[in-house]
């Protein structure tokens, strides 16, 4: 593989998936070394993503879901972040051992990301069109006016009204939903194979949330992207995701197809999350919430990290870390008593 950074295959991508497999995250660990101590943000996470597939990563804040996304993108600040173990393979290439310059060319054309807060994520002093066009100018070497034309085309694609007139406007001149559309336009500009959406709708109104989610779904189907949806909100991902991975304290605790997971969770934590969603058919009943708080990542409890909050916790849960294992066909759970949870 000589000079993979400049050669572009007919698909527009430098790398080709092997058997449709885009991403393979294997036993990923991420630590943050701070003055107060070492925070273990991710403790052995493995998952994969295929072409055209949507994977939702679900978890509370501090569960390590955003850190996972940033590790894949290669935008963690290192230091303080350290990746002591694990691999992230994109089309068979390990991103973690890739030279910086080569990896830079992965960001944007191959894998790209949308953040939660589009206002702060867009540079306030440059016009939005310019910021989208920067993708073409950096990675495609396009001239200014061609790149701006492309930006207009993308703004039209994400349904920004009067795109040609607004291409020179600044981020603060748009509404929250429109700004997130601009982020999306920027992220899909170079037709990436993988799109990561990190809480894309958390900062938005409910009606706008639905519009953004359907836009993402539409774009994903149109371009056959692999989509990773990171969220704390089960409701948001239900319609879009194919598979769900639930994270707790830097570990995956459950993996399943979306329908099966909704129908019968295989981990007490997932069950708690489902029970805490208000439902119209259970009006009048008390909403179940998970008691307690997520653990401090500098002092993750021994055994199953969820044990202090788990109603089912027994002695073994306080000593042995439950492995993520197949508990039913296609169902993975990291609970010593997953079968009990499933049957309940």
């Amino acid at each position: 593989m000589t000079d993979t950074t400049t050669k572009t295959k007919p698909s527009g991508h430098t790398y080709e998936p092997v058997d449709g497999r885009l991403l393979d995250v294997e036993d990923l660990h991420v630590e943050f070394h701070t003055e107060e101590g070492v925070a273990r943000a991710i403790n052995g996470v493995s998952f994969h993503l295929d072409q055209g597939e949507s994977l939702a990563i679900l978890g509370e804040s501090g569960s390590g879901k955003s850190v996972t996304a940033q590790a894949i993108m290669g935008i963690l600040d290192m230091p303080p972040a350290v990746i002591p173990q694990g691999s992230i393979r994109y089309c068979g290439q390990d991103l973690l051992t890739m030279p910086d310059e080569q990896r830079r060319h992965v960001r944007g054309p191959e894998i790209s990301i949308i953040f939660q807060d589009a206002l702060s994520s867009l540079n306030p002093v440059f016009p939005v069109g310019w910021q989208i066009a920067e993708m073409f100018r950096t990675h495609r070497g396009m001239n200014k006016s061609d790149a701006l034309d492309q930006a207009v085309r993308l703004m039209e694609r994400v349904q920004i009204p009067a795109a040609r007139d607004r291409v020179k406007a600044y981020p603060h001149q748009f509404s929250g939903g429109m700004r997130q559309r601009i982020m999306i336009a920027m992220a899909i500009a170079l037709d990436p194979a993988v799109l990561i959406a990190d809480e894309p709708t958390t900062a938005l109104d409910v009606t706008v949330q639905a519009q953004i989610m359907s836009l993402l779904q539409e774009l994903q189907e149109e371009r056959q992207m692999g989509l990773i949806l990171i969220t704390h909100d089960l409701g948001v991902v239900a319609d879009v995701a194919d598979r769900i991975a639930v994270m707790y304290a830097g570990r995956l605790v459950e993996k399943a197809n979306v329908d099966e997971l909704y129908a019968s969770p295989a981990h007490p934590y997932t069950r708690g999350l489902l029970e805490s969603i208000p439902r119209l058919d259970q009006k009048g009943q008390t909403l179940a919430a998970i008691g307690g708080l997520p653990p401090n990542l500098m002092r993750i409890p021994p055994g199953c990290a969820f044990n202090p909050r788990c109603r089912m916790a027994r002695d073994v849960c306080r000593t042995d870390v439950p492995p993520l294992r197949e508990v039913a066909p296609g169902r993975l759970s990291a609970c010593h008593f997953a079968e009990e949870v499933l049957d309940a």
Partner: protein, 308 residues
């Protein structure tokens, strides 16, 4: 935009009038006999003094004198100094010197201050950062006249790197050391301001976006982070220009520079009210216009500020 400029200019009129009155009142309250030294060694004759007071409206109450002075200034006449040289003519020459000095100081501020700030901001907590932090703190705490005198002695007299004094034409070479001294405090402030803003912006979400876009590190830092960090720095440098003009009074005295500062200072010592009022007023007007320019520039640098 043009509406904003007009409004600002209109607001400036009462400010200029008020500031001028303030200066006028202070200068003409200067103690001492304004005719002293007018008639050689001897005291002036009664008749001369009476005539002098009459001609210079010195018998009128202060507000009336001020109005008369304004009328005179409005016709472009700043009066004559003690030696009967028109003040405007003096100032034209002196402002060239002080203007050059202040602009060179701004140049040092921008080049050295921003460069040190970038180095320090990008390597926060490292050796360079600590070096910049400590050295700026030292510069900030040592009074400028000590820096000036010591710099003049060591760099000028002992090492002979720079000229020790400045001649009448004040060449760029001669002004190098004085400009560095005049700008030293501002250089330190610019370095600290750049550092704080840059390191804050480097942690911002949009810089993370820029990295995620696959931009080179130099483009991410040099364009995205720096462009935002420069907004407060440019504003500071602009506002600082007036302070530099005022600070020139000390620097010009140390290096014996024939600029406005020295002119004002000598005017105060010799009770030459007309010269002092004219020089200070010109300085204040320059300052106010530079401030207006900076405010306009601010709106241009930061699209979130609207001047409508």
């Amino acid at each position: 935009m043009s509406k904003y400029v007009v409004r600002r200019l209109l607001q400036m009129i009462p400010v200029i009038l008020g500031t001028m009155f303030l200066i006028f009142a202070m200068v003409f309250a200067l103690p001492g006999d304004p005719t002293a030294g007018k008639c050689g060694e001897r005291p002036c004759s009664e008749a001369y003094i009476a005539k002098y007071y009459e001609e210079n409206n010195l018998n009128d109450p202060l507000p009336l004198r001020y109005v008369k002075y304004l009328g005179q200034v409005a016709q472009g006449d700043l009066g004559e100094n003690q030696y009967e040289v028109p003040v405007a003519q003096d100032l034209e020459q002196r402002y060239q010197v002080t203007g050059k000095l202040a602009l060179m100081a701004v140049g040092f501020e921008v080049v050295i201050g921003i460069a040190a700030g970038i180095l320090s901001g990008m390597r926060k907590g490292r050796f360079v950062d600590n070096l910049v932090l400590v050295s700026t703190l030292v510069v900030i705490s040592i009074p400028i006249f000590v820096i000036g005198a010591v710099g003049q002695y060591f760099l000028g007299v002992r090492l002979g790197w720079f000229p020790v004094t400045v001649s009448g034409d004040a060449t760029v070479y001669q002004l190098l050391l004085p400009a560095m001294v005049l700008g030293s405090l501002s250089i330190a402030y610019v370095a600290r301001l750049t550092r704080t803003n840059l390191s804050e912006n480097l942690r911002s979400d949009y810089v993370r976006t820029a990295t995620a876009k696959g931009l080179t590190r130099s483009r991410t830092v040099g364009l995205h982070a720096l462009r935002n960090s420069m907004i407060p720095v440019v504003t500071f440098v602009g506002y600082d220009f007036g302070a530099l003009l005022g600070g020139a009074i000390v620097t010009e005295r140390i290096f014996n520079i024939q600029g406005v500062g020295g002119y004002i200072f000598r005017g105060i010592q010799t009770r030459d009210g007309v010269a002092v009022v004219g020089a200070v007023t010109a300085l204040v007007i320059v300052y106010l216009f530079v401030n207006l320019l900076v405010d306009l520039l601010y709106g241009f640098l930061d699209p979130r500020i609207s001047h409508d």
